[in-house]
């Protein structure tokens, strides 16, 4: 095992291969607070990539309800239990990563779901954390709560799928950091399925190979966001590029949200994979739950997000989510509008910080009739 630096856990750690970061890294921010679990992202992905034979059960993108939902079944709680204590010392992870906790004979601590674990993708859907008792009222965080967690492959900096493959069939593209299974080389040992803690690699029983989210790389190569991003009707997603913390640019949307404002956090950073999909944590969920999922920065991220309305740069950037199908590499705010640009500064989209509000009076002055809303 090599020693590599993982900024998400604030320390060096063991990994199967030496540190080798891509020229630039595909990344995304998903605002959990806006997700309504309509599953449009799931279907956009399904119809685009996994409508073939042997792919019937695959959901490269899924949306699960937390705390009880998971796909495949219990993918997260099972591994959290296997890993044991996950203490943080400030922003430094004091526990063991999945690579450091690998048992003898293994490259990573993992497990392989059975085929029945894929049979219930909507388990726990819309299930509340507990009973809403008589007399309870809304407060933040909610006494009883749930939220929707949309998930794709995290295109990790230290992918466990890649390190698990004994024949090097999984690779991370140097040009954009997207992690792919070489379909010509894979022999279907399912070691990657076992190794990925997010269970985002799927075995195709009819082709005998494993398949996974490809971040819609044919679109990325043309500067367009992936299918699950551009089809999101809740506009919760923004795809782009992330820098290392020391190289963070304030005009890079992902850098700004992740490194500068620290409002978007990785999912299960304690696993040690340095995942590159970041989440704005739910404001109404308990801090302890957010902390387990998103690490020690969760409480501050919620605080920052709740103050976004009084923070024009942050609010402006959040308005860019879902505003264009193009990849937004830079952004700039000018007074009450915010513009998204490509890397050369060419404007791709401009949106107002606040949508103009028009209130129609209840009585129509021309007809002198009371307006009604027709169903």
């Amino acid at each position: 095992m090599a020693r590599v630096f993982n900024w998400q856990i604030g320390r060096e750690m063991s990994y199967w291969y030496p540190e080798s970061r891509p020229k630039r890294q595909f990344a995304a921010v998903l605002d959990i607070n806006k997700c309504i679990a309509c599953q449009t992202c799931t279907l956009a992905c399904k119809t685009t990539w996994t409508s073939g034979k042997g792919q019937e059960y695959m959901l490269w993108n899924n949306v699960e309800t937390k705390p009880y939902g998971s796909y495949p079944l219990a993918y997260d709680v099972k591994l959290l239990e296997m890993l044991g204590g996950q203490e943080w010392d400030g922003n430094r992870y004091a526990g063991r990563t999945l690579f450091e906790a690998a048992p003898a004979g293994e490259r990573v601590l993992g497990w392989r779901p059975g085929h029945e674990d894929y049979s219930y993708p909507n388990t726990g859907e819309d299930d509340c954390a507990g009973q809403v008792d008589h007399g309870e009222h809304l407060s933040l965080p909610h006494a009883q709560w749930f939220f929707y967690l949309a998930r794709i492959c995290n295109h990790c900096t230290y992918p466990a799928c890649l390190s698990s493959c004994p024949r090097g069939s999984i690779y991370k593209r140097p040009e954009d950091g997207i992690v792919l299974v070489d379909q010509g080389r894979c022999r279907g040992y399912q070691e990657c399925v076992r190794g990925c803690p997010y269970k985002k690699v799927f075995y195709n029983p009819l082709t005998g190979t494993s398949e996974k989210c490809i971040a819609c790389f044919p679109k990325i190569e043309q500067g367009i966001q992936p299918q699950c991003f551009v089809n999101c009707i809740g506009k919760i997603r923004l795809a782009g590029w992330i820098s290392r913390p020391e190289n963070a640019r304030p005009d890079n949307p992902i850098d700004y949200l992740v490194h500068i404002r620290k409002v978007a956090l990785p999912l299960f950073p304690q696993f040690g994979l340095e995942p590159n999909v970041y989440y704005i944590p739910p404001v109404h969920a308990p801090e302890s739950f957010n902390r387990q999922l998103f690490g020690p920065g969760a409480a501050q991220a919620v605080k920052t997000y709740r103050e976004a309305a009084r923070d024009p740069d942050l609010a402006g950037l959040l308005c860019l989510f879902g505003s264009t199908e193009m990849l937004v590499s830079r952004f700039r705010r000018a007074s009450e509008t915010v513009a998204g640009t490509d890397e050369k500064g060419a404007e791709l989209v401009r949106v107002p910080l606040r949508e103009p509000v028009v209130v129609r009076p209840a009585r129509d002055p021309r007809t002198q009739l009371v307006r009604i809303n027709c169903p």
């Binding site: 409508s51 490259r107 399912q190 029983p205």
Partner: protein
């Protein structure tokens, strides 16, 4: 006494040779014969000496097999001077021939050095510059070649499929346009990966120069057939005779066995080291 009344049955069986197992030999003996058998149940096998190869857990490279499973594999071999057929037999608790998520399949393999030479390559998949040839049999490919269909309902009879886009109109069944669209959803097929089929043989010819280097051989010249009966797999694997293996000459051979129900696949396998393989005249 009832047992005494039927003493003659035992005598009859003994006379027919049924109670005797094949002659045990300390190396794999490829016996010359004019006709090579097609299957593991052929009568020709009964007179061929058997080598009981002890299996070891693959614990040299990660991922390792930490719990040993199959203890030994019984090996017999016949050759017609051009080809060699190995017959492998081992006990297996379950017939695992249905692939799926976390469902591994039973399998076995025969490995030979590329060249007959005294200095052997590493027995674990060869080594850089020292190639090994592998013939690999899988139970799911056996099921397919025996006639099982190649759809999700053949693996999961109760599977419900709403729609495949390539089966929608106006694409006509069997049309080139439809086949082309179906291939779009099968990247392994488009990439030319042999695992994606079509499967005409349950055996794949492979080459390797060390762990993790397994690749399809330039020539797919191995065939075979496997049968599962009474908790045992019997598999024959037929391939060209190692070049230069004359009568009474030796090369080496190694074997591997995978038990699907124990999640064995790839490097997680039971395997042997190199075992001498000698060609002998038939009786």
């Amino acid at each position: 006494m009832r047992g005494q009344r039927y003493w003659w049955i035992g005598l009859l069986l003994a006379a027919a040779g049924c109670s005797r197992g094949p002659r045990a030999v300390p190396e794999v003996m490829a016996v010359e014969t004019a006709r090579l058998p097609d299957g593991p149940d052929a009568r020709e096998w009964s007179s061929v000496p058997e080598h009981r190869a002890q299996l070891l857990a693959q614990d040299l490279v990660e991922p390792r097999l930490m719990e040993p499973s199959t203890q030994e594999v019984a090996v017999r071999a016949l050759t017609n001077g051009a080809e060699i057929v190995f017959r492998l037999e081992w006990p297996d608790e379950a017939r695992d021939d249905t692939p799926g998520p976390s469902r591994m399949v039973d399998a076995c393999a025969v490995q030979l050095p590329e060249k007959i030479e005294p200095d052997l390559p590493e027995p674990q998949m060869g080594q850089e510059g020292r190639m090994v040839q592998i013939a690999y049999w899988r139970a799911d490919w056996q099921a397919w070649t025996d006639g099982r269909g190649d759809t999700i309902r053949d693996l999961y009879p109760n599977a419900s499929v709403d729609h495949y886009p390539f089966e929608a109109k106006p694409l006509e069944p069997g049309s080139a346009a439809r086949q082309q669209m179906e291939r779009l959803y099968s990247p392994a097929t488009v990439s030319g990966n042999r695992r994606a089929g079509p499967r005409k043989s349950p055996v794949e010819s492979l080459i390797a120069t060390g762990p993790g280097t397994l690749s399809p051989a330039p020539s797919q010249d191995a065939t075979g057939r496997g049968v599962f009966q009474k908790g045992r797999w019997s598999v024959v694997i037929r391939r060209p005779l190692p070049q230069g293996l004359g009568r009474d000459q030796r090369t080496h051979v190694a074997f591997a066995v995978w038990q699907g129900s124990r999640h064995e696949a790839g490097a997680r396998k039971m395997r042997t080291g190199w075992i001498p393989l000698v060609r002998r005249a038939g009786s």
